[in-house]
Amino acid sequence: MAKYLLLKHYRGAPAAVNDVPMDQWTPEEISAHVQYMQDFAAQLEETGEFVDGQALSPEGTFVRYDGEGRPPVTDGPFAETKDLIAGWMVIDVDSHERALELAGELSAAPGAGGKPIHEWVEVRPFLAAPPTISE
């Protein structure tokens, strides 16, 4: 019973094995990819391990406080930003091994040529509630 974030990157992760940009795929390959992602989420719901899944727009805005009474400063998007999050799945599983297994499955989503992308998926544990018994 631990939650993990499976993080997909537009940029910032090591290069995938089947590293072809999505706009170079055929429409059928894109449909197959989307279907795979939906099936993956549905499977997690079925096993009782699904918590959340979201995709993010690649374009975002940086915002910061600019002092009392002034509107916040905005900047970006920065084309050169190294790390760019594409989306995530949140899972609630019995073990770290299970989280790795599911991340591996997610990474096998089909891409160009219908072959697995072998995308690098980042697995990050959630900080949980502190245990009651600590000594």
Partner: protein
């Protein structure tokens, strides 16, 4: 004015009502759904129309729900006359029914998270929504987890004996890994363990109950008003719940007297020694080390040996603690935190500060991370002066 239903009383009837349905021949999964439906109806109906015999009312309503559901299912299968007769009441339910339910819900074929969910619903009488909220997952996810768990135990016979140890592990998880949501899982775990202790005479069940009571007694003192963790040594012992401590100690002493030591009794004994010390300085660390030795013998857990190193550090000085720590794998969770503490006690503030910062990066939860970061910051500030 309608009075609210006493939810705890209502839920405490869950296992025996479910046991009666199963004894009458209902299959576990369908009976469990029917009991849940009856509980929901009780919450709705009882405030205006309280029953004279709450359990009898629940059995009648749950049985009717089960019949309706079974008939509907049968109709779907075009076998409309499958169930018609009200069956003989069957043998009177006994505490054994409750016990069997615990065994079934903690069956070894279930994963820990499934066993926890099934136990909270079928034994605890909590709704799927309450369990989902308690574990911060969507209700649909928890519903699936529970229905899969029911499918997993589908073929398990209700009357076969189970293993108390698996039940205790599930209850320990509910107590120890609970978030603090609407449902107080620690309180629920204590209630379920108390109920189990009433159904079976077993020193380790008593040991776990004592352990829970002794730790729960410290709850108010464990967190500062801002939510940060207060370590044992710094807790205001005046805020410990003496009633809970007294009960835990009494249960533990009765269990220990039977001379069938187990890991929960040993853990409870350590908690009792802490509870017994009027101040942190008066803690009997020598005896605590002895109990950790017993625990290590019983469980062979690396976490136990890590905690033992802390106790050795208090009993024989930080150098001895560090020597005990040196024998352990430094990849163990909280190894860096223990090393930091012992180095600080030994006067090596630079190493301690570095290790506290490292421990904070590896902390498995937010409260511990914040606590460890504060420790590192405190030492760094002292070293700058």
């Amino acid at each position: 004015m309608t009075s609210r239903v006493n939810e705890i009383l209502l839920r405490s009837l869950t296992p025996s009502v479910l046991g009666i349905l199963v004894r009458r021949g209902a299959d576990f999964a369908a009976a469990e759904d029917a009991v849940q439906d009856a509980l929901v109806e009780a919450v709705r109906v009882w405030p205006d129309d309280p029953p004279r015999d709450p359990k009898g009312w629940l059995v009648t309503v749950a049985w009717r729900k089960w019949l309706d559901a079974t008939r509907a299912a049968a109709a779907r299968r075009r076998r409309e006359d499958l169930v018609d007769e009200e069956p003989a009441p069957g043998p009177a339910p006994t505490v054994d029914d409750t016990l069997q339910l615990y065994f079934l819900c903690a069956h070894p074929s279930l994963t820990p998270s499934s066993a926890v969910a099934l136990t909270l619903r079928a034994v605890g009488g909590l709704t799927t929504r309450q369990i989902a909220q308690a574990y911060l997952v969507p209700e649909a996810t928890m519903a699936q987890r529970i229905s899969r768990a029911k499918r997993t135990v589908f073929g398990v016979r209700f009357d076969q004996p189970g293993d108390v140890a698996t039940v205790l592990r599930v209850l320990y998880l509910v107590f120890n890994e609970g978030y603090s949501g609407d449902v107080d899982l620690a309180v629920e775990a204590i209630r379920l363990t108390r109920q189990l202790a009433a159904a079976i005479d077993h020193p380790e069940v008593a040991g776990l109950l004592a352990l829970m009571l002794l730790h729960h007694a410290r709850r108010a003192a464990r967190t500062a008003p801002d939510g940060s963790l207060v370590p044992l040594a710094e807790q205001d012992r005046g805020r410990w719940d003496t009633e809970s401590i007294a009960e835990g100690v009494e249960i533990l002493q009765a269990a220990l007297a039977r001379d069938r030591l187990g890991e929960f009794q040993a853990q409870a004994a350590i908690a009792a020694l802490h509870a017994d010390a009027p101040t942190a300085e008066e803690t009997d660390w020598v005896q605590i080390v002895e109990w950790y030795d017993e625990l290590a013998r019983l469980t062979d857990s690396p976490v136990v040996r890590l905690n033992r190193a802390v106790a050795v550090g208090e009993a024989d000085g930080p150098r001895a603690g560090l020597a005990a720590l040196a024998a352990l794998d430094d990849a163990l969770p909280r190894h860096a935190a223990v090393a930091a503490y012992l180095h600080e006690r030994d006067g090596d503030l630079a190493t301690a500060a570095r290790l506290y910062a490292e421990a904070a990066r590896k902390a498995p939860n937010l409260a511990e991370r914040d606590h460890l970061t504060c420790q590192a910051a405190r030492l760094n500030a002292r070293r700058r002066r």
